[in-house]
């Protein structure tokens, strides 16, 4: 069966990708004609961000067969970067509590390193006691330094700030920093969970994702928690709508083209983001395709296809897995940082595992595991379906419910239509896994 499918893919291979991308472009254009270009470009921009997340997950799942059930955590961690890097600093916050917090984290780091060192050097009963003592003393010292510092920071102008603020650097700088943050967390998780049973990684990542989001929701000194951070600056070439509308040159140009200047300004902004995202995507695709064709890429595929024989050839499977897991998470973190600068605000309560972890897995599988172009296609296509299923669901349900008399049952049917998209995602995922496990654009 698989050989037949491979032959099939090879026959239609040359035309397959352009056809699917043309279809995708057609859907976006159709959306632009029917619901307006703002909506179409909005879907396309979020679709491209999802595609970058899918690229990252594809590196893990497609190249190495690692199941990351916590993409949400890395997206959220990446999203912290624009807050910490490109927001202006809160006046006085660092002086009030910054040093206390740094000192607290230094104590925590020393305690953990000390505990690890003791664990490695001591033997017998003494070891357990010494490690526990160091950790307990470390924890209470940490809290003793940390709590007053947090109170001091959160007391500063709580209605508008109450957090440390950022460094005031350009937003573009924060994107790679987001990738670094995610990579750091991925290294920690991977170091522990890789090399054990294959689904332990899935469960560990599921956990780290919940914890990252819990931290973002609750640590007000860091990112204002559920109070959200608003007004995160845009990356360098992207203008603000209000500046465009106030610019005489822009307004006259728009009027010359017969476009409403307000509409024109929102579309210009979206196009500017689109341009940035496309540049990032092409850079990532170029890098990943080059690396897949290099000896390193051959090694990764060899490991994925047969771990035992790759290990027998002297490849350190666990180390390579850690490497690809960290790289993939960095890409996911990058997408997270880009998403926050697109939104202009950080809302920790909006991170939902279905949206940011499991849909991204669907994107990768539908596009084709191991295929980078497939991830791009899957990212945009599935995001489009996800958004549109939210619109079509109620319409369809209204038709389905029309023969029933008005009453609680009919109301219940129409209310539940909003959940249609979950069902659609489940059916797509199971359908692709069952009938076309290599996805729309199979890996060559």
């Amino acid at each position: 069966m698989s050989t037949a499918r491979q032959a099939d893919a090879a026959a239609g291979g040359r035309l397959r990708a352009p056809l699917f991308f043309a279809l995708m472009a057609g859907l976006i254009v159709l959306e632009g004609m029917t619901s307006g270009w703002n909506s179409a470009l909005g879907i396309l921009n979020m679709g491209l961000l999802s595609a970058i997340m899918a690229l990252g997950v594809n590196m893990q799942w497609g190249y190495a067969g690692l199941f990351n059930a916590g993409a949400m955590g890395f997206v959220a961690l990446g999203g912290l970067a624009p807050v910490l890097i490109s927001m202006p600093p809160t006046p006085g916050a660092f002086k009030a509590g910054g040093f206390g917090i740094l000192a607290a984290f230094a104590v925590a780091a020393i305690a953990v390193i000390g505990a690890v060192w003791l664990y490695r050097t001591l033997r017998g009963k003494l070891r357990g006691l010494a490690v526990a003592a160091v950790l307990i003393v470390g924890f209470f010292t940490f809290r003793w330094l940390f709590d007053p510092a947090v109170d001091a920071i959160e007391a500063i102008n709580p209605s508008a700030a109450g957090n440390l603020g950022g460094l005031g650097l350009p937003t573009l700088v924060s994107w790679p920093v987001g990738a670094l943050l995610a990579a750091g967390a991925a290294w920690l998780v991977g170091k522990i969970a890789l090399g054990l049973r294959s689904d332990y990684l899935a469960i560990a990542t599921l956990g780290i994702a919940e914890i990252v989001v819990a931290v973002l929701k609750n640590e007000q000194w860091l990112d204002r928690g559920v109070l959200n951070v608003n007004g995160i600056p845009r990356p360098w070439p992207v203008p603000y709508e209000i500046d465009l509308q106030n610019s005489h040159a822009f307004v006259t140009k728009m009027q010359a083209w017969g476009i409403d200047p307000t509409l024109g300004s929102t579309i210009t902004v979206k196009l500017a983001f689109l341009l940035l995202f496309v540049i990032v995507i092409f850079a990532l695709i170029w890098l990943t395709e080059m690396s897949l064709r290099s000896p390193w890429g051959r090694m990764m595929r060899a490991i994925r296809d047969n771990e035992v024989s790759a290990a027998a050839m002297g490849k350190n499977v666990t180390r390579r897995h850690l490497q690809i897991f960290v790289l993939g998470s960095a890409v996911i973190g990058l997408a997270g940082a880009m998403m926050i600068s697109l939104d202009g605000q950080m809302t920790p309560s909006s991170y939902n595992p279905l949206r940011y972890t499991f849909i991204v897995l669907v994107m990768v599988i539908v596009g084709g595991s191991g295929s980078n172009w497939g991830s791009i296609l899957g990212g945009v296509l599935i995001w489009y379906v996800w958004v549109k299923a939210g619109d079509w669901g109620p319409d369809m349900m209204a038709i389905l419910a029309s023969p029933f008399p008005a009453g609680p049952f009919k109301e219940h049917m129409i209310d539940s239509a909003a959940h249609m998209r979950m069902l659609v995602m489940g059916i797509i995922l199971l359908g692709v896994l069952r009938f076309s496990p290599r996805g729309l654009l199979p890996e060559k």
């Binding site: 522990i192 979950m422 489940g426």
Partner: protein, 335 residues
């Protein structure tokens, strides 16, 4: 120093809630561990299966309430539970036929099975939402307390209150009965023994004439029953919300792994390890400290960790077990 009052406070705020929560986690972890040991994959749909089962139970409970049927001082949901189990188990069997069976036939890798279970998770999630929505639902009725604060004070004359909610007692009693029945089934019946044989060594079990389809079907029926019972008990004790059940996946997996995945005794022990650590670390110990150390009023709440970080506790324990004892407290399987 007031040792007795401290003991009462600990019992009231830590031991009783953690025991009930631990029993719920243990039942959830038993379901995960059973699927793992027979079907050999981590079932990501288990949280949503629990939500679905509970949703069905709630609907039937409402039906009974509308018909005026009640269970005296016990919650009506207990009457609805058997019906919920039947429906959920039937859904599990259906899912196996439509979805999982194919992957067993092609001998798919465990990690592919996990991905398939994510697909099932989406569908179960949607079904639950269609069925009952996303809102928080309280469906416990009947007597609320076995001992309430006033009765306790009259009984003992102590200033520190102690309450024992009926849902907590029901949880523990039901869990004990279910676990007893499960172990009796696995240890004494022919089908149960064939399941254990299948779990230990699939090839050998097949050679000795055990019907794999029967083993798998029975596993799904038991899993559906365990998920429904665990979900209903959790919902009675706290409240029902579909998303909370998805989030329970982490402590449940942690329980199963801490105990040793694939090992039923381990799943139960793991459930209690996780629940006691979670409740103990997030409880504000101020009251107990004030009782124990006279003439000293601590400044803060003496809470080691805010309750918002309760999932961090499961996670940390999970990580510690993965580092130091990847097979779990009781010997589990490693594939």
């Amino acid at each position: 120093m007031d040792f007795l009052n401290a003991l009462v406070a600990i019992t009231n705020y830590v031991i009783i809630p953690a025991t009930a929560y631990g029993a719920q986690l243990a039942l959830g972890a038993l379901g995960v561990t059973l699927v793992y040991s027979i079907l050999r994959f981590s079932n990501f749909a288990h949280g949503d299966t629990m939500a679905f089962g509970t949703g069905v139970v709630i609907l039937i409970t409402w039906g009974f309430q509308a018909m005026g049927i009640s269970f005296g001082p016990l919650p009506t949901a207990l009457l609805a539970l058997p019906f919920g189990i039947v429906i959920t188990s039937a859904l599990m069997l259906g899912t196996d036929k439509v979805v999982y069976q194919y992957y067993r036939k092609v001998k798919a890798a465990p990690v592919v099975m996990v991905m398939v279970s994510v697909g099932v998770m989406f569908i179960m999630n949607a079904l639950t939402r269609f069925l009952i929505g996303v809102d928080q639902i309280n469906f416990a009725d009947g007597a609320r307390f076995v001992i309430n604060a006033r009765q306790w004070r009259e009984m003992t004359g102590m200033s520190e209150p102690l309450t024992l909610r009926s849902t907590q007692v029901i949880t523990v009693v039901t869990a004990i009965l279910v676990v007893w029945a499960l172990f009796w089934f696995l240890g004494r019946t022919r089908t149960g023994k064939s399941m254990r044989a299948f779990s230990d060594n699939e090839d050998l079990a097949l050679l000795s004439g055990i019907d794999p389809n029967r083993v798998v079907a029975v596993t799904w029926i038991i899993t559906g029953a365990l998920a429904t019972i665990a979900g209903t008990l959790y919902g009675l004790d706290k409240s029902f919300k579909a998303f909370t059940y998805f989030q329970l996946l982490l402590p449940i997996f942690a329980s199963a792994i801490v105990g040793g995945i694939g090992n039923p005794v381990g799943a139960i022990a793991g459930g209690f390890v996780i629940s006691f650590s979670e409740v103990g670390l997030t409880y504000a110990w101020k009251k107990v400290v004030t009782y124990l150390i006279p003439n000293w009023e601590p400044d803060g709440l003496v809470q080691l960790l805010s309750t918002d970080y309760k999932y961090a506790v499961s996670f940390t324990i999970l990580i510690l077990v993965l580092i130091f004892k990847p097979t779990g407290l009781f010997k589990g399987k490693i594939v």
